[in-house]
């Protein structure tokens, strides 16, 4: 009976101590530095701009010039 009681007491005292010790420990994860490649990023942005512009000006391919509007040709500079 006494043995059981002391075991319970030890457990009651041990659990908070263990929790306190574990709480003080910290775990660090080493991370690789982020690598930035400016050349590739610039190219990607330029391609995105070109794609947006091509999408916007898609009518340039379908609209055949030289239909109704006419302009008299002049001397070149």
């Amino acid at each position: 009976m006494m043995k059981t009681r002391s075991a319970v007491l030890q457990l009651c005292a041990g659990v908070p101590i263990a929790a306190l010790v574990c709480g003080c420990l910290s775990h660090h994860v080493e991370t690789e530095p982020i690598e930035i490649k400016p050349i590739h990023i610039t190219m990607d942005i330029n391609l995105r701009v070109q794609r947006e512009l091509d999408e916007f000006f898609d009518f340039e391919k379908s609209t055949a010039p030289g239909g109704s509007p006419t302009i008299q040709s002049k001397e070149r500079p």
Binding site: V49, L53, S68, P69, I71, K74
Partner: protein
């Protein structure tokens, strides 16, 4: 002396005023897609006139994504000799550049760039698709596309 209007509590008037103000504030500016659609419609209508003027050597493209008169004297020429209502070449150029600047601003905001960067990309695009006889302004000098080599 009671200065409020008879029969209309001032609280009601204040509430109506607040509701009106909230309604005015809720009117958002047009969405970028709407602006783009409007710009596209205008530029699509203008495109055949611009291409005819480019073919005639009256206008050319700049590296900064603008359209420009090759000679200032062309400004007063009709944009379409068959239809004087379509205005002059100078007016055509001004209208196109205004819309292009608006487009560059919209795309720059979407792509998180400056309008100048978008404009330069369009300048390169126009250089690539120019016909051999079309005029391109390079370093304040006009040259025909066939004389320019793209690096």
């Amino acid at each position: 002396m009671n200065r409020s209007r008879p029969g209309v509590p001032s609280a009601v008037i204040n509430l109506l005023g607040m509701l009106f103000a909230a309604g005015v504030a809720a009117q958002d500016p047009p969405a970028p897609r709407d602006v783009r659609s409007e710009l596209k419609e205008r530029m699509k209508v203008r495109y055949p006139l611009l291409e005819a003027a480019r073919d005639a050597g009256k206008i050319g493209e700049t590296r900064d994504g603008e359209v420009k008169l090759v000679k200032a004297t062309y400004a007063g020429d009709p944009a379409d000799v068959k239809d004087a209502a379509k205005g002059t070449v100078g007016e055509l150029v001004a209208a196109e550049n205004k819309d292009r600047q608006a487009l560059y601003a919209v795309l720059a905001k979407e792509l998180k760039l400056t309008a100048a960067e978008v404009a330069q990309q369009n300048g390169l695009r126009n250089l690539d698709k120019a016909k051999p006889d079309h005029w391109i302004e390079v370093k304040a000098q006009w040259a025909q596309r066939k004389a320019i080599t793209r690096s």
